[in-house]
Homo-oligomer: 431 residues x 2
């Protein structure tokens, strides 16, 4: 009978210093002593990838992507060698494998390659020989034998993919936080660590900026039903389990409240309300590879309308420039930017089976006189654009409203009645 | 008809900063523009290898050699990617190849592997497509597909081996000095750069501590008759050509004067003059992997003798310890160490055809009242052990004696008469 196999992935801060590498080795050895096979995936030491990238950018504004992949892949190779040395030093037999030695084959898209196939034969052999296998994350090779990388945070994806390929029992992601929280503890002091989150919720949270896990790795885990655990490498707390939604399990209505203050709203005013206008606007943005988040089109007045959209603040300058170029063609009366906005979102698988969630959200914001400029929803998420200055307040209000705090969770928060009628969807405020 | 192919190897200081990498790229591009195919071999950026090794040693006193190879090989991968990016940035099409991609197959001796075979097919293809090929030096893979390294300074060996495998016209070694000098310019202000040195002379010089080239790479070049050029990456001086001895070329009697102050002499006194004593002494040192340089045995007196030997000062403590352990068995009367010594050597292929060279050397030292403790010779080298305090003086005296200075070379230095009779070989002075 084969033993249990656990994949443990350690992020950049977890292997950021020699001292941290020693601690990580001790943790791995402890797991191994429990009679479990352990495969480890490591990121580059914290700061290393940025250092390498910065050198390349000093040399060239557009460094060749194939060379960037060779350059960046060194970071994970270094940390995998050091963790392996640390394990052997404490008497835990270990061996490193690079992406190539792991048999991780990708497509040819340098700097953001997609995994095509994992061989894993060599890893299996080493595991059978009772070795801990330490894999350099983030990297693979393409069919030409060139090094490829999986994009930022790609080590999470490596870890999940290897766990799937080797039929592991679970994949543990070690990081510098205790798990997934109901909200940002810096803003909501009584934010609570979640014990369980569904893949879908985690994907929404990741897309809303929760940096604890790469969205792609969660998607991968979901597709293959691989249980993920997010844990701290600094303590022994159990962390957060990310798994398939259990229909028998009572779902909380809302699992988390997230905010994003790094967005800008751009409004193109007074465009004719006729077919093709939106296509022109968003076609021009897509051509520049700018990623738009929320879109709202006002109710038409006198055959003219305003179109507003949000996108990452970093991209706003370029987007506004493009809009000013297309504005004359569209016979728009103006282009304006508003960076004093924030996006507040609630995420929860329970929304599927509970009605009135949006109403409770709008009501909560209304009680604090927070105006809603834009609204967007998915099956398990509702996002509102509000004034930036209210971001923290709104987060706390909604965290309280949905009973997510440490104390509240003891009572039956879910049974709280909706306190008022749903607010009507508002037009985007002028900006 | 195929174009000329030049292999250029750049050492750690030559690629030590972003600015230096840019300069190196410009030089490579300039060579390429002359219509020559160029293959580049790079070392790790100065300090990088030591930094990586230091991290490993902080973690473990005896880090696994396989992991050390993975760790250290990253340094050359990083510099090869950066040099390639720099070349592409100035419009010179370039592509990097790792040791594996180069097809550099080695044996399994991690951290000091020997090259078994070089495939080079991919490099040839890129060269035909008019690319500069930038190879990560110092590394290869073994038959298992594990990364191996060629030992310190192994990038020189990589460069020569690749030049041989690809049938290059010459191999240029770029470093931070202008070439091979007749002596250390810090000690001999009028030391002169040599235009041509034979492989044999260079090997003797390298074994005497000339750091400009790895002895192994010179041996490799000699075996395949690959012309080597040592040049500075900081200027356009022609450097020193290292090639086969040309019988038609007039050889200078002496090409260089070297000194080494990091030696210690150990004397085992009063041992019985009988078979097996020397074997016991040097067998014990060999068992501890200590490398002995010079050996001298005094003329026997009353069936007893003294045996002296020199070795690197860093190994002297351990060697003395071993000698003190074997001394009772050998019925030796004492073991003494003298670290106040230096080795002075003259090297020259012309010694083969010129007599009286040793006499001139001893005479020169005698004129300054410098006593000779030990003598050792090869076909093209004579070394003397003297008191350490005379090392610099002796170097200057011999440099002058053999007419190596900038001015002297204009006159016919070689025709100088030997000024006195050869000194008799002396006994080692007591120590």
């Amino acid at each position: 009978m084969s033993r249990r196999l656990i994949v443990q992935k350690y992020g950049g801060t977890s292997v950021g210093t020699i001292e941290r590498i020693r601690k990580v080795a001790e943790r791995i050895a402890r797991t191994k002593r429990e009679g479990v096979d352990v495969m480890v995936v490591v990121s580059a030491m914290a700061g290393e990838t940025d250092k390498l990238l910065n050198m390349a950018r000093q040399i060239s504004e557009s460094p060749n992507r194939r060379e960037i992949d060779l350059l960046l892949s060194s970071g994970e190779r270094i940390s995998s060698a050091l963790v392996t040395i640390a394990l052997n030093a404490i008497g835990c037999p270990a061996v490193s494998l690079t992406g190539r030695q792991m048999g991780l084959l990708t497509d040819n898209t340098h700097t953001r390659a997609r995994i095509k196939q994992i061989d894993g034969a060599r890893a299996r052999k080493f595991l059978q020989e009772n070795h801990v296998v330490v894999v350099a994350g983030f990297q693979g090779i393409n069919e030409r034998g060139d090094v490829t990388t999986l994009g930022r945070g790609g080590s999470d994806t490596s870890a999940v993919a290897l766990a799937v390929a080797l039929n592991a029992d679970s994949c543990e992601i070690y990081t510098d936080v205790d798990g997934v929280y109901t909200s940002d503890p810096n803003v909501v002091p009584d934010a609570r660590k979640l014990d369980v989150v569904s893949y879908e919720e985690m994907m929404e949270m990741a897309s809303l900026g929760a940096k604890v896990l790469q969205i792609r790795s969660v998607e991968f885990a979901k597709n293959f039903n691989m249980p993920l655990v997010v844990r701290s490498s600094y303590n022994d707390e159990p962390g957060t389990l990310i798994c398939k939604e259990d229909s028998k399990m009572e779902q909380p209505v809302v699992s988390g409240v997230m905010y994003d203050k790094k967005q800008t709203k751009i409004t193109v005013s007074g465009v004719p309300d006729q077919p093709g206008v939106a296509a022109r606007i968003f076609g021009a943005l897509a051509a520049a590879e700018l990623s738009v988040d929320m879109i709202i089109q006002n109710v038409s007045a006198e055959n003219h309308t305003d179109i507003s959209f949000t996108l990452a603040a970093a991209d706003a300058g370029e987007a506004a420039e493009i809009m000013r170029k297309v504005a004359p063609d569209l016979r728009a009366t103006g282009v304006s930017c508003n960076s004093e906005i924030a996006k507040i979102s609630i995420v929860g698988a329970g929304m599927r089976s509970h009605s009135g969630v949006a109403a409770r959200m709008f009501n909560g914001l209304s009680r604090e006189n927070i105006n809603i400029m834009m609204i967007s929803t998915s099956e398990i998420r509702i996002s509102c654009v509000i004034e930036k200055k209210y971001a923290e307040l709104a987060t706390r209000v909604l965290h309280e409203e949905f009973g997510l705090s440490r104390e509240a969770v003891r009572s039956d928060a879910k049974s709280r009645p909706v306190k008022s009628k749903p607010q009507p969807r508002r037009k985007a405020a002028g900006s």
